[in-house]
């Protein structure tokens, strides 16, 4: 939907390396990855389990830090930030959709979405207005007072999507968002996210090896053994 001249680089990775320690063994999960994600992208990091997709997503989301290399999100250099500064970036610029939904179990659908807005310091009235609008947009109108355990997996993932986009983030990172739902629900969730991408220009970056997700991606980035391989754009 955007002309290439208007595109802004939301994510920029330069020679990023991530090494984990497992006991005495060092495991290189991400190996010299350079990557850009542009505004309005609907991109999928795909590859087998253990290929490094989630590690890349975690670093872009500020949940983890690179061992070496540079990483910018919305022009902020994440590799130089401390924990509190990283939490600021997550709060204001990044939305997360997790495989297991990760909703706060004691909060209702409304409260789960409202919680992240309240962290931004939004007023009660503003929270209410924006949350209700988003819940309606994700098809949860009338279910706002339900707790996660009173909703289906698909509904919970819609709440998670609402929570991810309610703060108008620069990018939504979705880690295997359809892995815990049936194929029918998966299609419905992908319809919703595609619609949000096309109508509201929200940038999505998925990590998945689910063919449903890969088929929907406008950009498919292959990840294998911690390295980025083929990077294809589709219309």
């Amino acid at each position: 939907m955007n002309e290439s001249s208007d595109l802004k680089q939301i994510v920029r990775m330069q020679n990023v390396v991530k090494t984990y320690r497992q006991g005495k063994v060092e495991v290189q999960a991400v190996n010299d990855v350079s990557l850009e994600i542009e505004s309005g992208d609907f991109a999928v990091l795909c590859g087998p389990s253990g290929s490094g997709k989630t590690s890349i997503l975690n670093m872009i989301g500020g949940l983890d830090v690179p061992t070496s290399g540079k990483l910018w999100v919305d022009d902020i250099d994440l590799s130089s930030l401390n924990n509190t500064e990283l939490s600021e970036v997550r709060k204001n610029r990044i939305g997360f959709v997790f495989q297991a939904y990760n909703l706060i179990p004691v909060m209702t659908a409304f409260e789960n979405a409202e919680f992240v807005l309240s962290l931004q310091g939004a007023s009660k009235a503003e929270c209410r207005e924006r949350v209700m609008k988003i819940l309606k947009a994700v098809g949860l109108e009338g279910l706002e007072h339900r707790r996660p355990d009173e909703m289906s997996g698909g509904q919970q993932q819609r709440v998670a999507i609402a929570r991810a986009i309610v703060t108008n983030p620069a990018i939504v990172l979705a880690d295997e968002p359809t892995a815990n739902v049936d194929s029918h629900t998966a299609e419905a969730l992908l319809d919703l996210m595609q619609q949000l991408n096309q109508e509201q220009g929200i940038t999505f970056l998925f990590s998945s090896h689910d063919q449903h997700v890969i088929d929907r991606g406008r950009r498919i980035i292959q990840v294998q053994d911690g390295k980025v391989g083929a990077d294809e754009k589709h219309n």
Binding site: D64, T84, R90, F96, L103, F115, T167
Partner: protein, 394 residues
């Protein structure tokens, strides 16, 4: 809830320990004060270190009046204390005497008068009455109406004697007091010792609240008439009693510290478990933007409310217990006897409590602070949980 109850029971234990101390120490100090020296003692310089009858106060009547006018002072007594040899028709025994002015002595401020078991105070019309301890009477083989000769040294260090008739016998229950002490009228003793009518060895000052002894000592010392005298609190004039109380207090503090430690460990355990159980929840909160500082505050707020609920429960469960111990108490006379003495004074065999305002503040404030302190580490841990690690626990 279990932790809140443990805080509550901690308060109950602390109230019992502290309340018992506040009650017992006050009783012991008041009792000690009424045995002769008062809460504050005015005496000649050096008398405390070497109590000889050549050292004496002069102008006691005026000083006594000025002291009585001070706020917080309930009574004063001009007294002469000294050593004496008592001789009856059958036996001689060494002992001590307190010469008192009956006009200023009441059973309320004098333990020996409170403990009269036979006769009365100086009812002998000649002014030569004498009240003696029951064990001293037994040693001397005397009864009411019998004569005793007492021998002591006068103001010039000369040996002097006088005769007195036993008008009363007291039993305090303290062997040392009952076995060696006698009360004599100050007028006749002043004559015997060649003292002027306004001369004595001490002024015993009884005060309304023993906690203000230092304050009143300083006020007395600031009086113009108290220029060349020593003013001592009970801690100086009764060092044995002060030592016993200080030792007992130290034991009490150790007990309370251990109780506090148990409470703190309980709170720490509860809060830490609560944090670890919600690791994933906290991980999600941090993933969506909650800062480590905010998470720290969140857990501290939980500790705060745990402390508040614990305090309220503590007040609820302690109030009836305190009411019972304050009004009725637990009678321990079957175990310790009815004349149990400690530090040279009689101790009430009924276990009772009384809490001073500052003790209540210290207990509630202390437990509250303890609960908050015990929450610090779990709160710190919560803020340090890496979100990416917490999300792996899904």
């Amino acid at each position: 809830m279990i932790t809140a109850f443990s805080i509550g029971f901690g308060i109950m234990l602390s109230v019992t320990f502290t309340g018992s101390g506040d009650y017992t120490y006050t009783n012991m100090i008041d009792m000690g004060a009424s045995m002769g020296m008062g809460h504050v003692t005015v005496e000649p310089l050096g008398y405390h270190l070497k109590p000889t009858l050549d050292k004496r106060l002069t102008g006691t009547a005026k000083l006594q009046q000025q002291i009585l006018a001070l706020p917080g002072v309930s009574a004063t007594s001009v007294r002469i204390t000294g050593q004496a040899m008592y001789a009856s028709a059958r036996k001689s025994v060494g002992g001590a005497f307190i010469a008192i002015d009956p006009a200023f002595e009441t059973p309320g401020n004098n333990l020996l008068l409170r403990s009269l078991v036979e006769g009365s105070l100086f009812s002998d019309k000649s002014g030569r009455g004498m009240v003696i301890g029951s064990k001293l009477a037994k040693k001397l083989h005397v009864k009411i109406g019998k004569k005793i000769v007492y021998t002591t040294t006068d103001a010039q260090g000369e040996i002097v004697s006088d005769i007195a008739r036993v008008t009363g016998i007291f039993t305090t229950g303290i062997d040392m007091v009952d076995g060696m002490l006698a009360l004599l009228p100050i007028g006749s003793v002043q004559q015997t010792l060649s003292y002027a009518p306004d001369q004595a060895t001490l002024i015993a000052v009884l005060i309304k609240d023993q906690r203000h002894a230092e304050l009143i000592r300083d006020e007395i010392a600031a009086l113009p008439e108290a220029k060349d005298v020593a003013v001592l609190t009970w801690k100086k004039s009764q060092p044995d009693l002060a030592g016993v109380i200080a030792f007992d207090k130290a034991g009490n503090y150790i007990s309370q510290f251990l109780v506090g430690l148990l409470i703190a460990v309980g709170i720490l355990n509860t809060m830490l478990m609560s944090v670890l159980e919600r690791k994933r929840e906290f991980g999600v909160m941090m993933a969506v933007g909650m800062s480590p500082g905010t998470l720290f505050r969140l857990v501290m707020i939980e500790s705060f409310w745990l402390a508040v609920v614990g305090l309220l429960l503590g007040i609820i469960i302690t109030a009836p217990w305190y009411y019972f111990l304050y009004h009725t108490g637990i009678d321990l006379s079957g175990t310790v006897g009815s004349d149990f003495s400690y530090g040279g004074v009689l101790v009430d065999p009924v276990f009772k409590v009384r809490l001073f305002k500052e003790s209540i503040e210290a207990i509630l404030g202390g437990v509250f602070m303890l609960a908050l302190l015990a929450g610090l580490y779990p709160a710190w841990r919560a803020g340090r949980i890496p979100p990416v690690e917490s999300l792996k626990t899904i």
